[in-house]
Amino acid sequence: MTQLKQRLNAPLKAIALASSAGLVLAGCASATEEPTTEPTETTSATAEPEPTSGGSMVVGITVDPDTIFPWKATQFQAFRMLENVYDTLTAFDADLNVVPGLAESWEVSDDGLAITFDLRDGVKFSDGSDFDSADVKYSYEAIQDEANAAVARSTLGGVTSIDTPDSDTVVLNLATADVGILANLTSVNLAIVSSDDTEETLSTATNGTGPFVLESRTAGQNVVLARNPNYWGDATPLDTVEFRVLPDEAAIAAAMSAGNVQMAVFSDPITARTVTGDVTVNTTPQLSYHALMLNARNGSMTDKNVRLAIQCAIDRQAVLDTALLGEGAVTGPITSPAFRSDPNARPCPERDLAAAAEYLAASGNAGGLEIDAIVAQNLYAGAVEIAQAVAAQLAEANITLNLEVLESGTYIDRWIAGDFESAIALNGGRPDPDGMYGRYFPSTGNLNQVSGYSSETMDALFAAGKSEGDPTARKQIYADVSAELEDNAVWVWLFSGYTYTATSDSITGFTPMTTGSWQYLRTTGLK
């Protein structure tokens, strides 16, 4: 990770995200200055002094984790804490490459219908019991069981059976080849728990194979993790990490300035700028993206020409500058670094009002038309500002965007039901494009009713992307997906934002990730 030492002269603008969440529930706020430095993506572990062993660190969070049970965690804070307590079969490194987790290696059968995982030896749960293939089978089958309401059940939807030929080997048998599953298994929602544990036991105490264990939890105040003495990897430099609840970001900034807190992620860049003292703020681009979702099954959105007119009428950079004061980058559909879409590969790379007028005329709406858009008022900051900027631009193209600004609960209900003509949204991204859009755009995807679009081409492309083992060919398939989405103006992808990780200069070894993950707490220590 190349760090940006922004201190106080750098502008900050943020969007906190839960990388796996369908829609990000955190926010952003406005900044007052133009950027003086460009954000840099996480590329490798930080070249910093080796951390000393021992000591404690305090991480400031605005709300305490709402659960400690990994299969049901969706909240940002819960996710960030639990990924340090539980392990998964596969994991991501800082560059988002899939690397071994609890599985030391794996082999995909020639037909792609079976993946054999060789499990790591000598792994123990924090209670001292041994980890083996029975725990993997137990965990995955429980996640598949609808009665357990595990949020990542759909990831294992294509797994028809799980074999455990011996205690060190697990075989996932798939209905169809699924290359993306290795990346998707990294989610802590697919954490491996002991076959002796249940949701009930794991709701009050943790028992994972990860680098930390839950030491204490005081509702509304803090969660303390301690080094797991049974961890299979390198012991964590820190003895304990306290996630301290300071409900207001200004309070976290004050606590950092006073030296009470050593690390925090800010969603409000203005607040992050108020931190003083020896603190470094890292700006990390995020996989999440802002979009104007168009429901191609509803009202005038069924007409491709109307959707293209909207695409051509919007100046994404201007919306970004107006609503988020330039804190972000214009994006195409796929935000993952390895598969990133060219943001200009679309019918209207730049705003083109003449083209918009032509598309409108082709749709039979030369005189203009009205569209309804739902906007969440209190789900994430910036939504209303983005909606107003988009509406102002569309008005110049003779398209009236009627904004329905809704309370978050109403918005979510309408969003889930696909009950909208268009929606201003902040959606979470994932490193693998199949994980990111495989549930939205294939006709069988469990969020297809929300995406409002499907086609035979899209189904074929996603099916091909799932089974294609050659990385170059796979990349091309998702470039085709991206082109299909943009050429049909399925949605209007606007831009991605940043998060701002403030770390005290007294700590070393932490690497922020574009997924928002805090997995590198395991390598973090005091200088």
Partner: protein, 322 residues
């Protein structure tokens, strides 16, 4: 106990119970009128990916599968048994959470009221001692400031100023109770109490000033002066004592509001009080947590009002006579 007093106590108690029942009904149904439920609050748009069976499992998990009336009466019945419900988020009974949070807010309210009285009463008396003179204008200006500066602004400014310039931020250390660490606890309560106390001192200044001015002009004060009673004794023994009734009324009301209304200050200063508990409950749509906590706040308010009534009797012999 006289028959009149007995009837008064019965009337007040019945009124209080009716109020609490009204609050219970109102909060219970208002909460459920808000769109969304604990599933969508917890999962957000991820809830779109749930199958019907998964959704049903979650409905049962959160205990929102029963008809509303059944939920309501079961909640009420449990309340009488001392069971305020269970917080799925915290994995703790609401009673335990409330027992932990209530003292924090209570301590904050007491300190804020004390500060408000320390600031408000002397300034109000000073203002009244020279109406339309400089000290009166200063007093009125302070009162205006107290009324017009929003608590969130004052709180954020003080928090940032003390932390950045003086390195003083005891609230960043994580909350400590008075028994765990009295020194840290008192430091943690200082700024929040000051913010709240400054705001509350405004109506107290105004009430004190008005009451003192009114009493100063009354015959018994003139008589006392004519009898040669010392000015200081007149100020405190005659004027202030008689001015106390409206001040006590105002203070009682403010104290009641503080028990439920210190959300902003608790939030900014990271105090795990009752206001934050309700706020978090609303955000997470934890029905049991919100409705039970609100009822506890309402009960506290009613009790404070009853105590205020009793205090009248202590400070005003005329009320005792009635």
């Amino acid at each position: 106990m006289t028959a009149i007093l007995r009837s008064s106590v019965i009337r007040k108690t019945a009124g209080a119970l009716a109020t609490l029942f009204g609050v219970a009904v109102f909060v219970f149904f208002m909460l459920r009128a808000i769109p969304g439920d604990q599933i969508s609050a917890s999962l957000g748009t991820e809830a779109a990916g749930l199958t019907e069976a998964q959704r049903q499992a979650l409905v049962e998990y959160y205990g929102i599968d029963e008809p509303l009336t059944t939920q309501f009466f079961s909640w009420l019945a449990n309340l009488f048994a001392g069971d305020l419900g269970f917080s799925v988020r915290a994995q703790q009974p609401v009673l335990d959470l409330t027992v932990a949070a209530l003292p924090v807010t209570f301590q904050l309210a007491v300190f804020a009221i004390l500060l408000a009285l320390i600031i408000g009463v002397p300034i109000g008396m000073l203002s009244a001692s020279a109406p339309r003179k400089a000290r009166d204008f200063v007093g009125q200006a302070l009162s205006l400031l107290g009324l017009s500066i929003p608590a969130f602004l004052l709180a954020t400014t003080l928090l940032t100023f003390f932390a950045v310039n003086l390195g003083f931020n005891p609230n960043g250390l994580g909350y400590k109770t008075l028994f765990e660490d009295p020194a840290v606890n008192l430091q943690q309560m200082f700024l929040p109490s000051l913010v709240l106390g400054f705001g509350i001192s405004a109506p107290i200044i105004r009430t004190t000033r008005a009451a003192v001015l009114e009493i100063r002009g009354q015959d018994f004060i003139r008589t006392a002066r004519a009898k040669g009673v010392k000015t200081q004794r007149i100020q405190f023994r005659h004027i202030l004592r008689n001015a106390l009734i409206p001040i006590v009324t105002m203070t009682g009301l403010q104290f009641g509001y503080l028990l439920g209304g210190a959300v902003v200050v608790e939030q900014i200063f990271s105090l795990p009080g009752i206001g934050r508990q309700v706020l978090l409950g609303i955000q997470q749509k934890e029905y049991a947590l919100v409705q039970s906590t609100v009822l506890v706040i309402a009960a506290s308010f009613v009790i404070i009002n009853l105590l205020t009534d009793l205090l009248y009797r202590a400070i005003d012999p005329r009320v005792r006579a009635e």
